[in-house]
């Protein structure tokens, strides 16, 4: 390319410029190429004048000054063609004439210091950017898309949003699914209940116990006449129905139901649940065996008595109590876990049933190392009316815990333990306020004249709590009405007046 330019310039100089004089040293290829490439420089000017270095030798209307070398060159050539053969270009930097070398040096310095970038170089750079840009696949939404995909925060946001939307949709689906599943299950149970109802009542009311006992699995299964028999849900529904009927019927019917349960091998189904790792299955198996009175299940129940799962343990203890031939309560006394009041309520129901036929050994509970079992034992003495254990309670009182002492005093009151008056007096005079209140109440039931004196004296003292005052006044009223009136009149205490009115009010007898 450069070569072509050189040849072209040479051609022009030889062909178009008619005289050799017209060519000057400043017209050399190096000079013109260099200066053309440099272009405009702010502090540099070009003057076209006479070749002999005499400034302004050209007529005033002809000599001219240019900022652009190309313009100066064109003008000079036009002068040469029109006859001004000595016209030449001179270089000025800050109005001072310079030789070509000086110009080159100046240009080099301002380029090095970034004070000047030749126009040709700017053009080249622009061309490169344009070329690169043209290679890109440009789209109208380029800015938005690049922003979305290059912004990590935005991407995280969108990710979470997508997750929420998906979760919401999954939830909607799940909701619908669960609703439909629940409905299906409910419908199936309803269907199974309807299938079970007639054959079950037929068996109960048409057949005698002996007849049922003589039947085998296939015969009873035939009575139910259903293809669902092997389904777990059907078996569960059948067991629940049997248990429900069993709870509401008595005598012969219970035996029949048990026979049906056993012949259909539903006991195996329940026993299998005990071995499950799922505590829910274990608990439901225990309940089924308990309700159906399957005594053979006792060995399988034993390991579950110390289960870590509260509900399994509670139901196992209940079932064991009910099914085990031994009623010595030893297994309960050996329990490591504390017995909650809820468990006590539940166990009491079973023990109450058992105690109707045989005596349970409450004494074992009173000897237990577990304080909560001992408390339950004391409660059982009271609830089962075991007067024979009053002396045991009396013996354990001095070393008992506060909770046990409280239960012992309540039990003495409930059982009218007249033998324990001395202990009651000691408790009344003791330092524990709660025991004093209970003892005061107890004195109203088992007390004598000495108790009335004690109450009378204590009522004369100051600083008694309202609760204690009330219990003492109630007891004194039942022991000695005269002292009751006297203490109120003597003490002139507003609380005592109020309590007297309260105690005498028939509507407040039990409040």
């Amino acid at each position: 390319m450069i070569k072509k330019v050189c040849y072209f310039i040479v051609f022009l100089s030889l062909g178009l410029v008619n005289t050799s004089e017209a060519f000057q040293e400043k017209d050399s290829l190096v000079t013109t190429t260099f200066l053309k490439k440099v272009g405009r420089v702010e502090s540099m000017t070009f003057k076209v004048s006479k070749n002999d270095d005499q400034t302004n030798s050209l007529p005033g209307e002809v000599a001219k000054e240019f900022n652009d070398f190309n313009q100066a060159l064109s003008y000079r050539d036009s002068l040469l063609l029109t006859g001004f053969g000595d016209a030449a270009i001179k270089f000025y930097i800050f109005d001072e004439e310079k030789a070509f070398d000086g110009v080159k040096e100046y240009i080099s310095i301002i380029k090095t210091n970034d004070l000047f970038i030749p126009e040709t170089e700017i053009m080249e750079a622009k061309n490169e950017i344009l070329l690169a840009a043209n290679k890109l696949d440009f789209k109208a939404y380029y800015t938005l898309r690049s922003r979305i995909f290059n912004d990590i925060k935005f991407m995280i946001l969108m990710g979470i949003l997508t997750l929420f939307i998906i979760t919401f949709l999954v939830l909607l689906f799940f909701l619908t699914f669960v609703r439909s599943k629940n409905r299906n299950k409910a419908n199936r149970i309803k269907l199974y209940q309807s299938i079970v109802a007639d054959p079950l009542s037929n068996l109960l009311f048409t057949y005698e116990l002996e007849e049922i006992q003589a039947m085998d699995y296939q015969q009873i299964k035939g009575i139910f006449n259903t293809e669902y028999f092997e389904e777990s849900l059907f078996k569960d529904t059948l067991i629940k129905e049997i248990i429900y009927v069993n709870k509401n019927l008595k005598g012969d019917f219970k035996d029949k139901l048990k026979e049906i349960y056993l012949i259909l091998k539903l006991n195996n189904f329940s026993l299998k649940k005990l071995k499950s790792k799922n505590w829910e299955d274990q608990a439901s198996g225990i309940v089924e065996l308990h309700e159906m009175n399957i005594k053979e299940a006792v060995p399988q129940l034993t390991p579950l008595l110390q289960s870590k799962v509260f509900l399994v343990r509670t139901n196992a203890v209940r079932a064991y109590l009910h099914l085990s031939p031994s009623k010595d309560l030893k297994f309960l006394a050996d329990q490591d876990f504390p017995l909650s009041r809820w468990q006590q309520m539940s166990l009491y129901r079973v023990i109450k049933q058992i105690s109707k036929n045989e005596q349970v050994k409450v004494i074992n509970l009173l000897d237990s190392d577990n304080p909560s079992i001992r408390v339950f034992g004391i409660k059982l003495v009271r609830l089962l009316g075991r007067m024979d254990r009053i002396s045991e309670l009396s013996k354990m009182y001095p070393i008992a815990t506060l909770a046990e002492k409280v239960e012992i005093l309540i039990t003495f009151k409930s059982l009218n333990a007249f033998t324990e008056l001395d202990l009651t007096h000691r408790a009344f005079l003791g330092p524990e306020p709660k025991l004093s209140v209970l003892a005061a109440e107890l004195m109203g039931v088992i007390g004598d004249e000495s108790s009335a004196d004690l109450l009378f004296e204590k009522l004369k003292q100051k600083g008694n709590s309202f609760e204690l005052l009330k219990s003492m006044m109630v007891s004194l009223f039942s022991l000695d009405k005269q002292k009751f009136e006297t203490v109120v009149e003597q003490q002139d205490n507003e609380q005592l007046y109020k309590l007297r009115a309260h105690i005498k009010d028939s509507l407040l007898a039990y409040v």
Partner: protein, 482 residues
Amino acid sequence: MYSLLFELIVQVFGIFFLLYGFAVIMIYMTITLLSGLELRKQLKKNKFVDYKDVITTPVGPGVSILAPAYNEGKTIVQNVRSLLSLHYSKFEVIIINDGSKDDSIDILIKNFDLRKTDFAFEASIETQPIKGVYKSNNPSFGKLIVVDKENGGKADALNAGINISGQELIACIDVDCILAPDSIIRMLRPFLEETNKKVIAVGGGIGIANNCDIKDGTVIKYRVPDTILGRFQVIEYFRSFLLGRMAWSRVNGLLLISGAFGFFDKELVLKVGGYFSKTVGEDMELVVRMRRYMEEQNIPYKVAFVSDPLCWTEVPESEEILSRQRNRWMRGTIETLQLHRSMQFNPKYGITGMVSFPFWAMFEKNAPIIEFLGLIYTVTLIFMGEFSSVYFISLFVLIYFFSVMLSSFSILFEELAFNRYREKGDLLKLIITVLKEPLFIHPKLMLWCMKGHWNFIKGIGGWGEMVRTGFNNTIKKGTAQS
């Protein structure tokens, strides 16, 4: 200089909102998870308990049901009969007529054959003067005690009831609530089951009775309410009881037991001085004070929650009444948190001080303020030219779907656990409400709560009027205490 400072403030707020939003999402997701686990546990446990077995037990504790009444004359007889028919062997019903301006007391005297007695009691907690304590001449109403007193507000009335009560546990309820027949024994269970910790209070699940059919004091047919506000509250109650309280109960961090239905250990209530009558948030304040006492005494304790829907109440379906209720709830929350602010971030108070209390302060009390600031922040960004519509829309949609997702979880939990709304179309109605709530109801709620803040600052108190439309289309009007 000022421009730079302003820029800095904007940046700081931006980071704060980001962290707050992140915390909200994380905390509520954790709550959802915990509540799911707790609900599963409770439902499994319920399968193996025959409550009928323990209704007549002589081993159970006695319960005093305290029901304050103010101008409930039109419905009080039916409500008291309903309470007296609850299934449990050892309980008493104490109705506290809190200076009603209507003829409530005369109606009670006439219908229950009451006579003024010389009931002696110790005023352990100071209350407004008691005019009389009534008992019935009819042994059928032997469990009923009616206390007639000067008006002093709900907390004062409850305190009077506590003074009179003679049982181990107290159940504080709203007299116009419908209780499930076996509600007492179900609520007693946590008190009786625990062996390692003292259970100091138990809260119960509350359902919305609007639009439901009620017969003999029992809800027999459940329907979602007809109005959007009613339906919104159904969802809100699901969220509150099946998500929030279940989760907090699992980590033993429950701070609030609804005043409409809560059981408490009487001895402890007396020790802490009963209800604080100078706050409108007396239910939450009592629980916080009881927890505080137990923490300070270093006694292991638990506040439990029973998810079973055992109590049914009518909710307001008009904006005016709902706004007053929310305003009051917010003031109650602020008052309680202010009263016990020394507990916040105090390790001495365990999970109460380190988790529950800061949660309530940050995400319940201050949420409306932060949301309002967020609005101002957005407007500021628009004026500064820093507003990014893409971010705004994305964040808005994100929070919207998060809210929708949470509400959907609560519906799912209800469906799995109780499945009460079985009518065709009920689920759809609830889902539509869930989709509408963040856009149309939540902003109003925030406004009402902001008003609660403003009223607290200005010292404007009181309960406001609660007009009830009545259960089962029976017109029933009552006025809450002032």
